[in-house]
Every structure is written in structure tokens, then in C-alpha cells.
Subunit: 435 residues, 4 copies
């Protein structure tokens, strides 16, 4: 019997037999490892409360799944008998929700983006679930030999019931439902919240027009429209305020330069110590042994970074000293005409000149950071809104606000450079203005 | 100009010139180090959201001080001119609030309690502030050569204005005001909140009866009584629910056994690697160089602990494996007659027998944990409640609830033992009941 | 299908077939009448947000009942088959919860207390439910001829299943659960909230020791103790801050004087117009026809009161003018020795003298108001706390705070008098101090 | 000294000398009258919590003004000395904020819209402030003979300092800031909230390009953009969810039919009793004596409506019976092609036919309701966003979301008809579909 107090969802319990898989999985070392991986990487450098971990998000996602399942059962009487939510399907889904982020590396997305040619976190998640040596695999297998495979499929968004797959990975999946609320709670960005109760209550089944089509997750058109709207807007606000925050992006860029430098050194035979085997293998070969990857977490990385401050390589030591002491890079956001791609090379060249003139290696000290998101992309596996007469409409057709957002792209473009170049750069820009 | 979004207090700003000391101090490495020290040690093992750091608490405490100062200025017209809140005093106070926890070691109180003969965190704080080699000292000294000394005094609760000292260290100090709200927000224990606005607004000056007595911080008797009551109850709830939670206490006890074992090994010449110099010095000699102490943080400790899982000493490796994988010790709370001290030796002996019979070293695997607090101790430097006619009364005289709590002691006593002894122990207790 | 947005509970729905009785009952005129009766009488004179009605409370109480029933069903597997929550019992209980306050007069408790020899609101509720002429009766009867009787019994706390009766009327009944949260939300008194989720989740069945005893509602001893504690404290705070607030009590006293005066006039044959028949009958005879009683609501009363401001009787017109324009009576709270009953006559006589000296009728302009509550009375139908080993203990035995509150009496005693007597009275008291 | 607990803003105080005008004005009968006028008319028929009054909104608006003034004083150092916020200006502004809605009739906007040829509530507000016979006027005049006139000007959005005028009446005025948060709190529509702290903190002065232009209220471009965005979206959500809710609109339409019928009866010499003089005069002549207007409030109206249920005129009595018992009119929202104006006459004629066929007077029983709003109209007195380099930009140029909303029109169009026509109408529409 497991009951937890969660600051986001309040009382969280996994008491039902079909959900007891969560407390079991919690005993696996690969799950406990998520306690040592911050959900938002270095975002706490900008939002001092954002120290929450992937572990709390995993619990939250599993909890949201129990609520989705409760709702789907309220309405699955509409479906053919063989498409309903059996106990087994419920268990599979909550396990997939709980494990979906298992493969994150230290600092979550940061590590992944700083090692772009390595396997993504989803690949690692699947490896962990399918590898017979892991605790997670053993626990799943002991319950049902087919479970590891089914959970891995679900995590990749595949399931015979399309609507169940989309609760794990889709426009309104349990992952998003939890991380938006969680990141909002811990950063203190109140705009990021939305009404989860109402959203869950608005779930319905929609039926694709094609004959024989499987039911899809849809939203009640009368009660649910504001729920979608506020969900989409909450996500937009979190991107604008948190995920694309200048200090978040600058520190991510900063961190990627450190790994880039280490890769350069390793490839040139320069030893870097301490060097966790997982990082070394990834940077040298683009992949790593699962065991070594799992040994990586924020503590290991941060502890190594503390040592690298005294590395012999001046670039590596300087970059680590800056990040460790939170001397972040500065940014200058580009608006209007300056955001044309053809303008980028020019601006970047100017920046690189200034860096070189200051004795800095331009490859590691200046750059251009572009952050892109489509706040409401309803083109692929589109979500429908169902009206009382069973008519399905696209949200963008009936919503004042979504009609104005659908398919639109949000882009934030910034120059990145060290503080010491700032005045110099601004002076230059004033004399030869950007736009 | 510094504006932050804090999940506890909302908008936090240190814009006024007298508070600009906070953003300056934030650049010191000793302050940035607090980002790597969790406020509640291992409590996130029980409350998955409780990963917040001393850094966010430092900002919160400084913010609460700016609010206290705002209130004291509203009312200091009642005081002689030389006792009012000058710009300098405001700056000193906010600096003291911001720096008061600078000296915490890894996992905050846990480390301190696990090294009982080492200097407490307040001692380290004062050392950091007064040591000319630290960034904090330099920043303070550059503003005013007397500032490090004055801040260190304030942190220790000493100041010519008694009421100012008690804002840093007293019944309602800014430390408590922030940590109660913060710990409540991050654990999700809603009972721990109270109405800070109302509390601040209720602050008044009380005048001791002795001639020439200095004004003290007091509370308005009409508006402020519910504010005190809820503050005291919030604190009581947090102790009951969080600080004295069985998993918190068990993991603290667990951690202290690990350091105890390392000390034993070091004193017997058994090498333990890796061994951060600060920990080694403290365990060997009871003290450490400031530089080595400051190199300690959660990442360093947690990373070392990961390595110690494969230490040669079987007790150390086993204890570290258990903590790392969250295989915590179990507890059994004692009620009624079992809580008599004379009963303790008997119970403990029984436990030690069972441990030995299972091949476990009783010194490291079983114990008795007693947690004690006085929820409302108003005897030392008592807080007064001031009524419209300027009559001062003790809160316990006019409050229904505080009258029933004042001076009472809350004690939680528990046996601590590993899971594998549980059934065995319960069977034994049933056949020879505890009480 | 009924889904509502409630500011207290969020999404409220009565979709299940067994709860569809609520939307049906909502169509009855006697239920709609509750929209015109403020939950807290004149408390909005002290707390400007407290304009919420009995109607919203009725919905809230019914909603809490649906949650209680959900919980009881999770655990009723422990009970003999014939003691479980059938669909019929669920429907009866939610109807009783929804209708329990149907009999309130204008301004809720105020009217009842100002007409002390009239039937209480529970009596009126039962009359409405049982009277074949009401819409409520018809709706109940049409569903099941025995339903009016069963609902009336439940509202009076009687049911073959003791635990079900106590959900409607007991220490933790749905009435209290809703009104505490609701009154806290609308007054803005944050202290009045508690964790309803946790409380509901903590419900268990307790078994009286007597052989053949029926199961009672109890609380889980491990998870539920803080839930009880905070519930009891929330209630205590609401009494201290709201229900016993000086302006609430003074306006209640004020209102009772107006009805007292009207009764005096009516009994002496002095016509008062307009005179709603329900009020006239109650004041003349101590009872009224149901039809006339149901015609009374806040609008009718308030509209009459506006007219009475120009009544010929100078006392009636003056009292009404004062209340209408919120010129409330003042209060002076008595502490310590002044609260001895023997002291009351003396103080009251002094007040009456001052009133007469100012040309005021002492019977209508001065008085002594005593407000009494026992914050945690666990003596009658005591609530038990159940520990994992099925041992039942009284909450006061295991709770630090409840042990100090159980059976204690909270009393607030105040002199009541018009503003114009204030200075005079204070002067007198200073020269001959009260205590 | 006045301190209040407000459920929306928490602690509200008007302690500063310059704000003591609020507690004084609170004693005026015209202000107390606002306690008897619901902020949202009949919206509580759809949202059971929405019983809050204009009185609580008046306090809230005055409180927000004190916060605006606090912020303006932080930044008015940038302005010439004679444009700063003096004590007198602060007092004037807070008085205007407090009194700005004084002229509302019963049920607020509903009454105004149901008497379209009568004076609007702003006109009545100004009359009350300027009329020497009112309590409000006397209180203002006693403080300063020019005050009534200055307050009346401010309420009408006129003041020598343009930015001060726009705090009372503009895109971000204190009225909107309070009512959005307040209506959201009392309806429970969480989407309607926004971050007032951040908004206030983002206020800056903008300078129009024209030479000699006065400073305008503007928003900080770095910190303030999300504050504007969420404010605009909160307003949009409140319109969609609450103000344009089908039951709100249907009951407003319903109420307007009742007054229309009474006007018809009065003009044809048919007596209607009871008939408050204010209503009679307005319906007969289009205006009323101030004294009679002030005697109108929700209680008077609701009490009259109860009596009109038994009026001889069958239309009046039926409409009143329906509204009193909440038998509301139904609506059918029109989408797509059906919203073309040329389609309206056709639809309406169809509805009128159905009504007549059922023996109902089409003028009173069917209609077409069109609700229109421009969620972000920044064309008139446009608000600017100021960037660090002092460049002013229009919000729609720099905001992803506002750029997509600016100038767009939200329209909701619905047919209105009694329940009994519903099936009949739907059948007809199905056979001859609307679009």
C-alpha cells in the first residue's frame, strides 16, 4: 500500500492491485537513480526553486495515468468489449508512464543535447526496460514475461489500442500533463498551470471517419474546449518563460561547449580526469555500455565538473570555473529583420571577430542560439473535439484562440557571448546597427 | 536590479539600494555552493518533492527580512531616533539573513549531526564571513570594513538593537518564516503554511518593564493572535509530519552510521577512497580547514557514497549500498509506558541480540532514535502580545490554544533496525510484549 | 448529466445514476429558495466576501457525500454483505446531504436564534421533506414512496447503519467538511482550510468492542491523525476568527433586538408594516404555516427592514436604520476574572445605567454576549483511530495536540453597546476597573 | 485604522493617512448600498459561488489602486516634479477607484442593459458624487471642497495626468484588475487569474513621441510581457467562460423581457404592484430621481419579482415564475455560416413562428442573443511596451500571442427560446438544416 504526498497532485496513491506495479518498480536501482537527475537540468540557475528530479516526475506521470484510466473506464462502455481497459492494460499503461523517462542522462535534456550523436533518452529507456540485467526488467518479467516488451512498445507510442498509446505519447499525454504542472510549481511560474481535473473529465472517444477505424482520444466539445485552450497556453507560457528563458538557454549552450571541448581533448589524446567511463565512451564512440551510462547522474557529473576547474587545458578549466560559479554567458535576443537566416552568418562572424580580438577561442565562447517550438501542432495524429451530436471538429475550428495559434511557430533567436564582450559588442552594434 | 520568481513568495526583488548587497553577495562562490546543498538532507527519500536547496532558502530568508524591515519602518516612529532602522542597519540585517546558513555542510543538518564533535554550522558560517580569503568576506569588506564583523554578530543573534537581533534569530525570525513555508511547499504538506502577510503586519514594538529597557519585537494582540497561533501550529505540524517523519529519521540515523563507520576505519588506519579531505579531517581531528570544508557539498558526498558501495569493508559497503538504493531502516514507534527511559536499555539490548543473532554488527545496524521538540517555548526571551491599551501579555495567557501548548514537549521515540529483523522482532515483542 | 464548477471543490459532478437525484431535487422551489439565503447571515458585514448562500453549501455537502461514498465503497468489503453501500443507500445519503439545511430561515442561524421559541431549522427541514405539498417531497416520493421518510430520518442522524448516519450528522459529517472549507474560501480566512482528500482517504471502519456492535466511522491511525488534527484546528480557527468575530456577534445581537422589538409591538397591538406573514406568525404564536415560512428569505427580510427604517416606533426605526447603514454595536471583550458569571450582573447593570442615562431603552441597546464552543468534544459517539494492528484508540490519547484540547471549552464574553456609549463606558471602567 | 481580510487579495489595509478616505467613505449609505448589489447579476444561476457584491469589488479596486500608487512612486523619480504622485493625487485616485461603480442598479449590468434608454451606471455614479445631498458628497466635500468634482472627473477617465486617469479607466485599470481576479475566485474559474504582483511591478512610464507629450502608463518589455499576455488571456477566458456563458446570457435576456413587459404594461396604464418608484420612473420616462434610484437594490428587486409571480398579466407572471424558480430559457449556439447577419432574420422568423404556434407571445419568449467583445483592442490610447534601451513597441509586435489576437473580435450568437420549444425547434432544424 503506497500513499504519497506530492506537492503538485496532493494525495497520490497506488493502492489498487493493478497499480501495485509502481511501488514494486520503485525498488529498482534504475528508478532510484532518477532521484539524482534534475528534471530541468540547469534551469535552477534561473529559477532557484527548480531542483526537482525526474523521480518526482515519474511518480507524477504514473499518478496522472491512474486518473486517465479512471476516466477511460467511465466511458469505455461505448467501445467494443475487446477494446476496453482491462486490468492488464491498466497495469501496462501505468508502468509505461512511470518508466517513460528512465533513460535520461545527467541534467536530463542537457546531456542529451550536448551529445547529439549519442542515443536519445528514449533509446536508453528502451534498453533499460529490455535488458535482462536491470532491476526494472526483472521486476517486469517476474510479473509477466511479455511485460518488458509491451512496456517498451507503449513507451515508444505503440499499442494495439491507439488511444492508450496516445496517453503515453501524444498531444495530451500524461508526461506533458505532469511536467507542465510540476515545472510550474517548482519554478513558481503560475502561468504554467491548467485545470487537470477538468481536462481528465473532458476526455472522450472519437471515431475516425474511416471505416473500421480504431477509437482515438478526443475532447468533449462543450465542457472540454477551455481545458484544451488552457493546456495549450500553459505549455506556450512554460516555453516562453522557462524552457526558452535566456539563462536556461545560455547555461545549456555553456554546458554543451564543455562536453564539446572534452570530446576535442579526448580525440586528440589529451587525458581528462576524472573521467566517468560513460561520458568517455559516448564522446569517443557515440555510444556507451548500459552499465556505464547508468552510473552517470547529476552528482557524478557535478563532482567531475568541480575537478575539471583545475584541468590543464585552459579552455576546459575556464568554462568549468564559469559554470560552477554561475558566471553565465550573456545573450542578446534578435527581433524583426535580424531573425532572417541570411543575417546569421554575418552576425556570428562579427561575434567571432570580437572573441578572437579578446584572445578567446570563438568555437567555445560565442555562438547563436535558436529555440523553436510549435505551440499547437494539430496536424499529425490530430486531436478532435466531439460535440453532443457526435460531430467531430478540429479544435482550431471552434476555438477562438486555437484557431489563431494552430501551426504557428515560436522562435527565439539569441547571440551568446561572455560578459566581457558585452560592452564591446553593443558599441559595435550601435555604430553598425543590426537591422 | 534583481527580480526573481520564487515559488514560495512569488515576486522577490532586491531593487532598493540598501538591499543591493544581496545580488552582490550572490556572486560569491560560498553562496553559489549552497545551490549544491539540499535544505532537508535526505527528506526527499520520504517526500519526493523535497529537493530544494539552501540557496533558495537563503533568498527566501533575505526576502522575508526586506518585508520585516518594511514593517518595522512603518512603526519605528514610536522609537527614539537612534533606535530606528537606518539604511545601514537594513543592509546589515538583510545580509545577515541571506548569509545565516552559509556554513551548512552536505545534506545540511544531517552532516552536522553525524559529526557531533565537529563545529556546528553557525561556527562555519561565522568563519566564512570573517575569513579574509572568502568571496563573501571581500564583498562585505569592500562595502564597509566593519561589515563582516557586524554581520557575524547579527548571525549569532547579537546587535545593539535587541529587536533587530531577534529578526535574525528568535521566536519569529526570518529563518523560520521562510523555511516553514518553503519546506511545506516542496514537501506538499499543506498544514505547514501560515499567513506571512498577516504575521508581518502584526509586528509591533513591546517595551520591557525594566527602566531603560530596549524595545523588543512583539505582536499586536487584536490582529496578531491568530497569526502567532497558526505559526506555532504550522511549525508543530512540520515537525510531526516532516522533520520527525519515520523515513526522515531512519535515513538520518542511517547516514550517521556511515560516517561513524568511516571514522572507525580511519582511526584504525584503514584507507577509504575516495576520501574528500574535509570529511577526513573532521572525522580524524574534529575540525577541518575552511577551504576543505567548503569543497564539500551534496554532489561530492553522493558521488563518494556511490564509490563506497564497493569499499572493501563489508559494513561500510553494505550501509552505502542500502542508502544508495533507498533500502532504508525500519522503525517501530514506542507509545505509552514503553517511552520510559528505563525501558530503553532493555529494548535496545533485545534489538542488539537479534542483530548479533543475524550476523549484523549491532553498533551499526540497530538503535533507538529519540526526536524531541518544544513546540512553543516562550520562556527564554519571551514574545509579548500588545493590546490597544499598551498592556503586554504573554501569548499563552490570552490564546486558547497556546495556553495549552506552552512549554509542552513533543517526543517521538523509535526503535531502528533493518528490514530483515522486522518479522523476527515483531514476533519476539508479541510473545513478550513491550508494555 | 450535471457538472458544476465550484470555487471550493473544483469540478463537481452528479453524473452517476445513483446521484442523479441531486439535479432532480435542484428543480424544487424549496431548494432554489436557498439561493436567497446567505450561509453566514450578516457575517459579510465583517468579511466582505462572505455573501455565499445555503444553495452553494447544499451542493458542496452533496459533493462531499459522493466522495465519502466512494471511499466507503473502497473499504466496505470488510463489512458483512448486508451492511454495504447499496445504490439505494448511496442515493438516500446524497439526498439527505443535499437537503439537510433546507429549513433555514432568512440569514440562516440568525433568524433561528432571534426566534428562540420557534421551531429550529432541522424541524423545518423535516417538515419540508415530509409535507406532500412541497416540490421536494414530490420528487422524492416519485422515485420511491419510502424516500421522504428515509431522508428525513437520515437528516436527523438516524439510520440502521450507524456509520452512514454519522456521515450526515457526526464529528466529521459532510456538513462540517463543506462549510468549514466554504466559509474559509469566502471569508478569506486561510487558517480554516484542511486537507479533505487526505481526510476522506483516512476513513476506515471501527468496530465497537460490544459484541454484535455495528461498525462505526473511524480514522486510520497512521495516515489519518494529522487529518483529524487539522480538521479540529480548522474548526477552532473558524470559530475564533469568523463565527465568534466581534462584528458577527454584534450584528447577530443587533438583529435579535429588532425581532424582539417587533414581537413586543405585535403583542401590544401595534401594527408593523410590511409584515411578512411568516414572521408575524412566528413572533405571535411561536410557529407558522410552512407556506408562509418558505416565503421568507433574505430579500424579503432585507426589503422589509428597509421599510421599517421609517416605522413609527422610534426604537424599531432606529435599530433598523443602524443595521441598514452598518452602524453596528460595539463590543468589549472580557478576560480573566471578569468572565466569572457573578461578575456579569454587575457589569450589565452598569451598562444599563449608562444606557438609561443616555435616554436609551436598556433592553434593546445594551447586553452581554457569551459565545461558547467545545472545539473537540469526543465524548458523545466518540470517534476512534484505528492502528495497523486493528487496535482502536481515542484520538486524544495518541495526538499531541488533541490530547491538550479534548473536552476544553472556548468561551468569548463581550459587553455590547452602541458607539455613543463607548467613551463614557470606558471612562467609567477606568475609574472603577473591571477586574 | 482599517485592515480587512479579502479572499482575493489577502490582507487589505487603508492605514496610510492618504488612504484613510476609504474607511470614511465606507460609512456613506450609498456605499453600503453596494452590499446589496451582486457584482455579476444573475450569474450565480450558472456559477453557484458567484454571489459576491459590488461592495467587495469596490474595496478590491481601491486596494489595487494603493498598489498601483506604490509602484508609480517607485518610478516617478523619472518624471518632472510637478507630475509626481502627491498625497492629494493618491487620495483622489483611491477615492475614485473606490467609488467608480457606485451608480450600479440592481443586478449590476443587467439592470442597465434592461433599461437601455436610461442613464448608464457611470452617469449615476457621477450624479451621486456631485449631488450635495448624498453622504458620499458630504464626506468628500468636508475633506476638500474641490474633491467631489475631481473624483467625478477621474471616474470619467479625465485627469491632468493621463497616466493617473488610465489607472481608473484604461486597458489595465484597477477595475479590471480586481474584477477579473474576483469573478474568477467566486465562480471558481481558475483560468481567469493572472499575476497581479508581476503586473504591478512591470508598470513603467512611456513617453509619447509627440513633443511635450505627457507620460503614459506602459509596461516593461523584458519583465512585463508575460504579465500583459496572461492578463489579456485571463480576460478572454472570463468572457468565454463566465460573462458569455449560455445560462448567464439566457437569464440576462430573460430579465430584460420582464422589464420590457412591465414598461409595456405601465405605458398602457395597467398597474403593476409592488412598483418601486425608481423602476417605474425609469420605465415611464427614461430617468428617475436620485433618491428613488438609490432605493433600488437586489433585495428590493427580488422581493418585487416574488410578488409579480402572481400579477394579473399572464406574461409578466409567467416570466417571473420561471426566473424565480430558475426555469431558464434554452439557447442554441450558431456556428459557421449560420452566423451571417442575413441568416438572422430567417432564423428569428422561424423561432417566432414556433412560439406563436405554441400560443406564446414571440416578443417575450424567443430571441436572438449576440455577445461581442474584442479581447485585445490596443488601437485607442494604445499601451506600449518599453525595452531597456527606452524603445517603445506595441505589445502585438513583440508578443507571439498578442500579435495573433490584436483587434480580433469574439462573437457568440445564440437563439433563445423556452424549454418547451426545444424539441420542436430541433426537429425543424434537422429537416431544414441551418447551414
Amino acid at each position: 500500500m503506497m500513499i504519497l504526498r506530492d506537492p503538485v497532485h496532493g494525495l497520490v496513491s497506488f493502492e489498487a492491485a493493478e497499480f501495485s506495479i509502481v511501488p514494486r518498480l520503485m525498488e529498482a536501482e534504475e528508478v532510484q537513480r532518477l532521484r539524482r537527475i534534475r528534471q530541468l537540468g540547469l534551469t535552477s540557475l534561473a529559477y532557484p526553486g527548480a531542483d526537482h528530479t525526474r523521480f518526482s516526475h515519474a511518480i507524477g506521470a504514473a499518478h496522472v495515468m491512474t486518473r486517465f484510466i479512471g476516466r477511460l473506464r467511465q466511458i469505455h462502455g461505448d467501445l467494443p468489449f475487446d477494446q476496453r481497459i482491462t486490468t492488464e492494460r491498466a497495469r501496462d499503461a501505468v508502468a509505461a508512464a512511470f518508466l517513460h523517462d528512465l533513460g535520461h542522462g545527467p541534467l536530463s535534456h542537457l546531456f542529451e543535447e550536448a551529445v547529439p550523436d549519442g542515443p536519445g533518452h528514449e533509446v536508453w529507456t528502451v534498453r533499460i526496460v529490455l535488458n535482462p540485467a536491470t532491476g526494472v526488467h526483472r521486476i517486469l518479467r517476474d510479473l509477466d514475461p511479455g511485460l518488458p516488451e509491451r512496456v517498451a512498445e507503449l513507451i515508444q507510442g505503440r499499442h494495439p489500442l491507439a488511444f492508450l498509446a496516445s496517453t503515453v505519447s501524444g498531444t495530451f499525454d500524461v508526461d506533458r500533463c505532469d511536467y507542465l504542472l510540476r515545472d510550474a510549481h517548482f519554478t513558481g511560474v503560475s502561468y504554467g498551470s491548467f485545470d487537470l481535473d477538468w481536462l481528465v473529465r473532458s476526455l472522450r472517444f472519437g471515431h475516425p471517419t474511416s471505416a473500421g477505424g480504431a477509437p482515438h482520444l478526443a475532447i468533449d466539445g462543450v465542457k472540454g474546449l477551455p481545458a484544451i485552450e488552457s493546456f495549450v497556453l500553459a505549455r506556450l507560457f512554460m516555453f516562453q518563460q522557462v524552457y526558452f528563458h535566456k539563462a536556461s538557454r545560455a547555461s545549456e549552450w555553456h554546458f554543451s561547449r564543455i562536453l564539446l571541448r572534452i570530446r576535442h581533448l579526448l580525440r586528440h589524446g589529451v587525458p581528462v580526469t576524472p573521467m566517468p567511463p560513460g561520458i568517455e565512451a559516448l564522446l569517443r564512440t557515440g555510444d556507451a555500455r548500459l552499465e556505464d551510462y547508468l552510473a552517470l547522474d547529476d552528482a557524478v557529473l557535478w563532482s567531475a565538473l568541480a575537478s575539471w576547474r583545475t584541468a590543464q587545458d585552459p579552455i576546459l578549466s575556464d568554462l568549468c570555473q564559469r559554470l560552477y560559479a554561475r558566471r553565465l554567458f550573456k545573450t542578446l535576443e534578435l527581433f524583426g529583420a535580424d531573425r532572417r537566416p541570411e543575417r546569421y552568418a554575418e552576425l556570428l562572424e562579427l561575434l567571432r571577430d570580437r572573441a578572437r580580438a579578446s584572445g578567446l577561442d570563438a568555437d567555445y565562447y560565442v555562438g547563436l542560439d535558436e529555440a523553436v517550438d510549435v505551440p499547437f501542432d494539430n496536424s499529425d495524429d490530430p486531436l478532435a473535439v466531439i460535440f453532443p451530436d457526435d460531430v467531430a471538429r478540429a479544435p482550431q475550428e471552434v476555438s477562438f484562440i486555437l484557431g489563431r495559434l494552430a501551426g504557428e511557430t515560436l522562435t527565439r533567436t539569441r547571440l551568446v557571448f561572455p560578459t566581457e564582450l558585452r560592452e564591446d559588442l553593443l558599441a559595435q552594434l550601435r555604430s553598425a546597427p543590426l537591422s
